[in-house]
């Protein structure tokens, strides 16, 4: 186990290096002078020269990459061009709302999708199964912002049950916090409920055809116990995979949802940075999200060998 852990950790390093190379080249491959992009549109020639010298842009490109990576490894992700604040501080300030939205979305998605998928598998081919499958195809075909706006229209405007938008930290009281998180969570989780329910259904159906299920039934085990203990346990690997993939995919949805519901999180920070052409922030956020992606994949791989002791690397 420790050997496997170490090997898996080492395998993540080249991926991260590759991400750094891509993010680094992104700014340099794009049309135009990076100094011009970094200095902003209205920069004078002197300002440009200053930026070039400060950024080390007059040095060879390989040297630039290594000094940039060196600063990254020391936790220096740069400063915002607009506000002049350290990017790490800006990200820290915005982290809470996004984390809250992501956690509530994944928890809701798993809590709804796993039972739904099992139910569909159990009723395979029957009307209930067809309905779940139909709803799930619709679920990931509708853009998240459309779902968000329809929810706002129905629950905030027509029924008046919930606030239209905004965010309140947990420290202001649980209800105030939860109230503003309900609609964004519902909107964002729809696609993931659809995705996870489909995979759960497929995996459970596949396992239900195995010999040990027949044995369990033959020895007189109840259908519920067969489903929960034997089928779900053995279908766990693909289910955990898809939940992990969902968490990793969440970032795109978070950007859109935060924009619809006016939540001041990392997604909104991305958009603000894009509109202001504040590239150090964009770079840092791409790096951060990629790091999260790699870490989640690492955790999934480790869970595999816990869930299924046959899996060894």
């Amino acid at each position: 186990m420790p050997g496997f852990l170490l090997r898996r950790l080492l395998a993540a390093i080249p991926v991260l290096v590759m991400v750094a190379v891509i993010v680094f080249s992104l700014l340099r491959l794009s049309a135009g002078d990076p100094a011009m992009i970094l200095a902003g549109d209205g920069a004078t020639p002197e300002q440009l020269d200053n930026v070039r010298r400060a950024m080390g842009l007059d040095k060879p490109i390989v040297e630039q990459f290594f000094s940039w990576s060196w600063r990254l490894l020391h936790g220096d992700v740069g400063t915002s061009l607009i506000s002049g604040l350290p990017v790490s501080q800006l990200i820290g300030d915005r982290f809470g709302p996004s984390l809250a939205l992501s956690i509530s979305t994944i928890v809701l998605a798993v809590m709804v999708a796993v039972p739904l998928g099992i139910l569909a598998a159990w009723q395979q081919g029957k009307p209930l199964d067809r309905m779940v499958m139909a709803v799930s195809v619709v679920g990931f075909s509708v853009p998240v912002f459309i779902i968000g706006y329809v929810l706002i229209l129905v629950f905030a405007r027509w029924l008046g049950w919930l606030p239209v938008q905004g965010y309140q930290p947990l420290s202001n009281g649980f209800w105030v916090f939860a109230q503003r998180l309900i609609l964004p969570t519902l909107a964002l989780s729809t696609a993931y409920i659809a995705l996870i329910a489909r995979i759960v259904r497929t995996s459970v159906i596949e396992v239900m055809g195995e010999d040990f299920i027949r044995t369990a039934r033959a020895k007189g085990m109840g259908e519920t116990a067969v489903l929960i203990r034997h089928a779900l346990g053995n279908a766990a690997v693909p289910i955990v995979t898809i939940i992990g993939v969902s968490i990793a995919m969440l970032i795109g949805g978070v950007v859109v949802t935060e924009s619809v519901f006016n939540i001041p999180g990392l997604g909104r920070l991305v958009l603000e940075a894009v509109l202001a052409r504040d590239y150090p922030i964009i770079q840092a956020l791409i790096l951060l999200f990629s790091l999260i992606y790699v870490l989640i994949n690492l955790v999934i791989d480790m869970l595999y060998s816990v869930l299924d002791p046959r899996i060894r690397y």
Partner: protein
């Protein structure tokens, strides 16, 4: 989609596959999906004939009007006819979908074939693909568009690039499994040149999964374009795309929800139809999956 049986033919003996394809395409959801897609293509082609006015025509006296005989879906904040703009939006969305599929599949196929055939290239290519896959697609697309300036072409490239690694992985895995097959070895022993072996003997095996992946890329490209435009990082705002229509309409959502919802329904319907078709094609072309589901 009538061309798919012909394209799928090289994969295996044609007759059982064709029979299965026909059977899979028989269900009513698939028929409905095909009808919707055909209708959208027709609308996109005939947009100038079906439109009631110029989609770019600004009329300040007709701002934010509700549905009427002159404006079948009302007007937007610039007094432009929403119905005509939505029709032209079909053009943009289908162009983006098709363009992304062409770029992602052709580049993915090329890179995947090289990675799957040449051992020396494999390690490097797959590391680059791993790195690309680790970057969230939307974020990469937003960054690419904002760096290289908004235009239809940059949006196409920006949406296609994050899709490429998955195509490469798939093509590579098919190539790896095919390269040890006896017909490939036979061709190599007979002295067939390497590009010809790859093109004529190995590449056809990737076609069926490529078609399936292509439909999913098509659907996701339309969604991504809508999201990018909605976020203000997409096609230039004056272009009548569905995403732009929704982005402009969001300010007036409480007043006229239709400005967001009409294009939204069309995006959803298009993506839904393509996804349904993709599922059906997957079941027909990938018997392993069909048996499972």
């Amino acid at each position: 989609m009538s061309s798919s049986p012909a394209v799928a033919a090289p994969v295996a003996p044609a007759s059982p596959l064709l029979a299965q394809l026909k059977q899979t395409l028989r269900g009513w959801p698939v028929i409905a999906a095909i009808v919707v897609i055909v209708a959208l293509v027709l609308v996109a082609i005939c947009a100038p004939l079906l439109g009631t006015s110029d989609p770019g025509l600004i009329d300040a006296s007709q701002r934010l009007k509700p549905i009427s005989a002159a404006h079948w879906l009302g007007t937007d904040a610039f007094g432009r006819d929403v119905y005509s703009r939505v029709l032209y939006g079909a053009r943009i969305s289908l162009t983006v979908g098709l363009g992304t599929v062409v770029i992602a599949l052709s580049l993915g196929l090329l890179i995947g074939v090289v990675a799957g055939y040449f051992r020396w290239a494999d390690a490097i290519i797959m590391r680059v693909m791993d790195g690309l896959m680790a970057i969230p697609g939307i974020l990469l697309a937003i960054a690419l568009v904002s760096l290289s300036g908004a235009s239809l072409f940059t949006v196409l490239i920006a949406i296609a690039i994050p899709e490429i690694p998955r195509v490469v992985r798939m093509v590579r895995s098919v190539m790896l499994s095919v390269r040890t097959e006896s017909f490939v070895e036979a061709a190599t022993i007979l002295g067939t040149r390497v590009p010809l072996v790859m093109w004529r003997h190995m590449m056809p095996s990737t076609l069926a999964p490529l078609i399936v992946q292509g439909t999913y890329i098509f659907a996701s490209a339309i969604l991504t374009e809508a999201i990018l435009s909605f976020l203000g990082a997409g096609i230039p705002p004056e272009t009548p795309s569905w995403g732009n229509a929704m982005a402009e309409g969001r300010v007036y959502f409480m007043l006229l929800p239709g400005l967001v919802l009409y294009p939204g329904v069309l995006v959803s319907l298009t993506v839904l139809s393509v996804n349904v078709l993709g599922d059906a094609l997957r079941d027909a072309l990938d018997p392993r999956m069909a048996k499972r589901v």
